[in-house]
Amino acid sequence: MKRRIDHQSAGGPRVWAGIEELSDDPQFQAFIDAEYPAVQEFSKTARRDFLKLMGASFALAGLTGCEKSSFITALPYVDQPPNEVIGLPRYYATAVLLDGYAQPVIATAHAGRPTKLDGNPGHPATQGRSDIFMQSAVLQLYDPDRAAAPSRHGEAVSWADVESAIGVMRENWRSDQGEGVRLLLGPTTSPTLLRQIDAFRKQFPKARVHVHAAAGHEARRQITAAVYGQAAELHYNLGDCDVIVGLDDDFLGPGPDQVRNALGWSQARRRSSDRPGNRLLMAESVPTATGALAAHRLIADARRMPVLAEAMASALGVAGASKPDVTEAEANWIAGVVDACKDRAGRSLFVSGLSGSAATALWIARINQQLGNAGRTLNLTAPIVGPADAGTLADLVSDINAERVTSLLVFDCNPVYSAPAELNVGEAIKRVRSSVHLGLYRDETGALCEWQLPLAHPLESWSDARAIDGTVTILQPVISPFYDVRSVHDVFAKLLGAEDQAPDAAIRETWQASFGDAFEARWKQALHDGFIAGAAPFVTASPASNTVAPPNTTGDLDIVFQPDPTVWDGRFANVGWLQELPKTLTTVTWSNVIAVSPALAKRLSAANGDHVEVTVGKRHLKGPLWIMPGQAGNTVALYLGYGRTRAGRVGDQHGYDAYQVRPAGEPWLAQGSLRKLESREDLAVTQLHHRLDGFDLAREVTPGQVEQTTPEQASLYAPWPSSKNAWGMVIDLDSCIGCNACVTACTAENNVPVVGADQVRAGREMHWLRIARYYTGDVAEPRSFFEPVPCMHCEDAPCEMGCPVHATTHNSEGVNQMVYNRCIGTRTCSSYCPYKVRRFNFYDYRSPPESPEHAAHNPDVTVRSRGVMEKCTYCTQRIEAAHVAADKENRPIRDGEVVTACQQACPTKAIVFGDINDPNSEVSRLKRNGRHHVLLEELGTRPRTTYLARWRDDDTESRQG
């Protein structure tokens, strides 16, 4: 029986087609007319221009002083290494870095080159799960735009020149104990780097260290320090929560803590099979993935967050909280919070984000204290990130301007781009007599520094770092550097005056002390496991008793700054996979947007893509507007990370630079105004329509609606004879947080090409797996849904019937196969596909032969040429590998032995794959679940990919905020 939720029934939520339908404004009407037959400029060349450039730039890099081998010469082994078996990948446990934290990975290396990163399954914090940044790190490794050799004033130099220059600098510094020497770095968790910094400060006691982070946990640590009166980091224990209440905190959104939070949240959510296991209440100014999942979402301007926090505190009986004025909607929401927290001592959690500042966080901390959550669902540790007593970037700039700085050493951070423009870091750096930049790219900062030193990628260097829970990973190289690069530890060793040493010497030295006599064994164990057991110990602290003034909110509009969902603070701007990844709620690619509420857009008579000017204080920026359903009326969201000028050929000149208006003092919430401009642009959007329109496409069930599923629809066709295994997939819509980790993992595993903004605009993105975003309800206060849509692998597949040449066929295990070399490109399969999951190579989207991107390709997956259809294969190469392994041991394939790339990456374990012939497999078990349903079941395609409906937390759930 189908449970159709009729969105058009009386009293149900109203559905809407697009924001413009609600307006009679002729300009809105004009936008509707213009949206569809959008004037499209087709790219002038068959291939993406930038990839040609990638190839060209690579050739240049080969000419200009790269001493070591490059990709151009790939010779077979003369003497094959004893453990190397050609064709068999090797796996290394290491980590890549985000915001200074280790993201533990198992790197798959084919013939000495890493091709795929996956989470480290043994790691206590991430349990083998991934996020988009971790998945994409391998492409950044092969980026031909990376800095390939050291340079001085833009002229290529050798490392010997660098070393002698460092020697001269050391002489100078020694004379005045490092007076005027400043180190500027991004947040780091590396024990070795922190040890080296300490050693450096011992040698030069007057040198100072500054930390700059444009986004991420640095700001959270500052707030936490203000609230608890001591430096600390917060750790949410979401797995034990029955109720989670958030104020502008996208804890399931991108960031270093996403994987751990998503794991915990989804575990709690799945605690029971007949009702949702936890309840999430969110108050948000700007819609986020977390808010989209909330049972009860309140829309409130950013400036309301401290008020809401205090009102909640007052309602929950926190001492000292007065009862502020709240609107009716806010009061309803708070009543819901109080109701949900009843009898949940120690099983609830209140969290707050950055826009509400310390004033909000202080009330939240007191509520957690009051409800007994502290120490149970909320834990504190000492800061994992260092260095502890670092100054800020603002301090550094004022010191430079006061002529107190003679030497500036910038390590792996790009303040010229990512600092608030009002600090004018670029001008400041020019005033420093001697400046050194060590970074992956010759970026905006590198271009202004006297010396630009190329940094080794984490996958090609020795290092160590702590994961979000404080567990240490030793980073080992998976490939020897192919550019003339050095690790940060190598450079520090030179700064410390050390002679040339082994690349892992600094790391070994750090761990010598704690490993003691059993060093070699423990070192080997650490490299093998990918981590050294032992998370940071919890500490106890109480919220301060003083009051913190809420931020100044006198302006027209609240301007909220957020890191971009895919390129973060801009450091991933040159990673094509991340640029082309549709952003979680907007599906915009290759650009950032200025998100406003539907009401504000209507006031401005502006539509998606119209240029608007944002003014904060005396600074302006211009960018494309995006109407964000469910955004608070007077809040404008700006996304960091775009408008770069020296990111590389992939990342330059997309979007606007939000740092231009970001205030140094209040970097997360500012006051400003908005003005519509005459110009507009076509955004590269992958999903143009979001209304559900009464269609039963993303199903919801309430606990009362769960029923036993009925047998499959009858079919006139005889079933296919099944071989031993029959593969199937179940996707739990209730667990999907729309994070895109699956899409990125699929891109990496299956050599999915990047096609560029023009092709995305033309509707030709190549992702085999898309996350559909749907809205229902009122445009101002919608409910949002995420629905991953891979190939359905239909038993009665319309595509198979359409192909005239047998290029798409059904195998005996039920997989709908795509035979690339048989495909002649009639596109009939795609025309007939009701799910439109097939992707076509309209042009030759392959990289040019000389491009280093080839090194990142999975050798087990064909690279498709022009004119060929492609689609999700259920990672057939992994199925075949499992068959080989099982056949060798003469045993059946075990449940869970075949793991698709999307399944492996999913941080909430929403995707389950397995053998549906085995009634005991997890996928079979889920197919018997009461929430199980089939997408477009009425078509009789009998898909192998099916879904579990999302929970609607209760029947009376409010959608009106």
Binding site: Q687, R764, C803, R822, I824, R827, K836, F840, N841
Partner: protein
């Protein structure tokens, strides 16, 4: 009988008709106009060649297609050209078999038109392919890997249908031409023409046995051609109807497509009839009565096509299926509603003027109405393709389609591909069947004398 059958003015001589019609290729009367037309047509053909080179060099990405609208102009124009082609066969073969002798003034150029329209249609399935160099994989040749085409696919049926149709149309056209080629040979004075017509006439001497065998062949081929019209375009409609896409998945599609094809084809026949008649002064052979009959046929097929429109709507509404209704609403009021209403208006509104006899008998009015139908039927195919694909089942895959420059250039280029051989045929072979006109005239005269 006598009233209707007097379609040709009887006050003309047999020899006069032969001289008049063979005179067109032998002493071409309209050199300048022909040259101008040929220049334009050649320019269009050049455009096609440039477009095809660009297409084969870069890929189908030069067109506006995307996912979900991954079929557009190539399939759309394929259907349009093929539909136009059908009228020639219908006029020649069907009316031959039913003994409607008024066809004799029209069949030759209608068949010629069919031939070249099918050629235009026939190149599209190749241009359409992502990898056109593998088009031969659609044929059941003895591949070393033992792979055969997939016979369940409507595209596979399509290849066979079109090739069969092209072969039979060519055979029918050529068979019908033989006696006239002989007539031209006998009147040719220059050596080159004598050899050309001598070879192409296959030694025709007009003996009774020749005529008897010829009659058998011609009627048999006609008997083959008529069901082919129905089967080919039914099959074309299955390209769509075999998919589950809302707006395509309908059992009315085969008759709807066949009638639509005949409709558009008769419109083109009318255009050519009116143009040639005024161009070469053939009012004595293509009479107002002919135009009157063409107008009636056009009106009839048009109304039958209109029935298809009505029932398409009825089917969707009657099914009550949400996605079918969505597509219907998209056609009525969506972003491409202009194609739907354009098709409805251009196909059926001017058509109604054909209820009046005076309109049917006025060349330029018939020409304008026919032109409107040709454009209308083009829009109809655009509508069927794009409005179904751009918003199918899953809202998350809804998108849009805008034809690119190369879409248009390829389309206009095929008009050149049609016109160039058609103009050459006008220049080289008698545009109206001489012997059949004479046969008809003879009959009429006999009846007059004996009646």
């Amino acid at each position: 009988m006598s009233e209707q059958s007097d379609i040709l003015p009887t006050r003309q001589s047999m020899g006069g008709i032969a001289d008049q019609l063979t005179g067109i290729p032998l002493h071409f009367p309209a050199d300048r106009r022909w040259l101008i037309a040929m220049t334009v047509a050649s320019a269009l053909l050049m455009l096609l060649m440039v477009s095809v080179v660009e297409l084969f060099t870069r890929g189908v990405g030069i067109w506006g297609i995307n996912i979900p609208v991954n079929w557009a102009f190539a399939i759309h124009n394929y259907v349009w050209w093929l539909g136009i082609g059908h009228a020639g066969t219908l006029i020649s073969a069907l009316l031959l078999l039913t003994g409607s002798e008024w066809r004799n003034s029209l069949n030759r150029f209608a068949e010629t038109m069919t031939l070249f329209a099918v050629v235009c249609a026939g190149i599209y399935p190749i241009l359409h392919l992502g990898r056109p160099w593998y088009v031969y994989w659609m044929f059941p040749y003895p591949a070393t890997m033992g792979v055969w085409p997939q016979f369940r696919s409507p595209l596979e049926w399509d290849i066979w249908a079109v090739l069969t149709y092209l072969t039979v149309s060519l055979a029918f056209w050529y068979t019908g031409l033989i006696p006239d080629l002989a007539a031209a040979r006998d009147r040719a004075t220059r050596r080159g023409w004598q050899i050309f017509f001598g070879i192409t006439a296959l030694g025709w001497r007009g003996s009774a046995r020749h005529w008897q065998r010829w009659q058998q062949t011609y009627r048999l081929t006609a008997g083959l051609a008529v069901p082919l019209v129905v089967s080919v375009h039914s099959e074309v409609s299955l390209l769509f109807a075999a998919g589950q896409i809302p707006g395509w998945h309908s059992t009315i599609f085969p008759p709807y497509f066949v009638l639509g094809a005949a409709f558009s084809g008769f419109a083109v026949v009318s255009i050519i009839a009116v143009s040639l008649r005024s161009w070469f002064g053939l009012q004595n052979l293509v009479t107002d009565d002919h135009l009157d009959l063409l107008g009636k046929v056009l009106l009839a097929t048009g109304l039958m096509t209109g029935y298809g429109y009505v029932f398409e709507v009825f089917d969707a509404v009657y099914s009550g299926e949400a996605h079918e209704m969505q597509t219907l609403i998209d056609r009525f009021a969506g972003a491409y509603a202009w194609t739907y209403w354009g098709a409805v208006i251009l196909n059926f509104i001017p058509l109604q003027a054909l209820w009046w006899r005076a309109v049917r008998r006025t060349g330029w009015m018939l020409l304008l109405i026919s032109a409107s139908v040709v454009v209308g039927m083009w829009l109809e195919r655009y509508m069927i393709l794009v409005t179904s694909l751009y918003r199918d089942f899953l809202v998350s895959s809804w998108s849009h389609f805008t034809p690119s420059f190369w879409d248009w250039s390829t389309y206009f280029g095929t008009i050149g591909l049609f016109l160039v051989p058609f103009l050459i045929a006008i220049r080289l072979v008698p545009v109206i069947s001489i012997f059949e006109s004479k046969e008809l005239l003879h009959k009429e005269k006999e009846e007059q004398q004996h009646g």
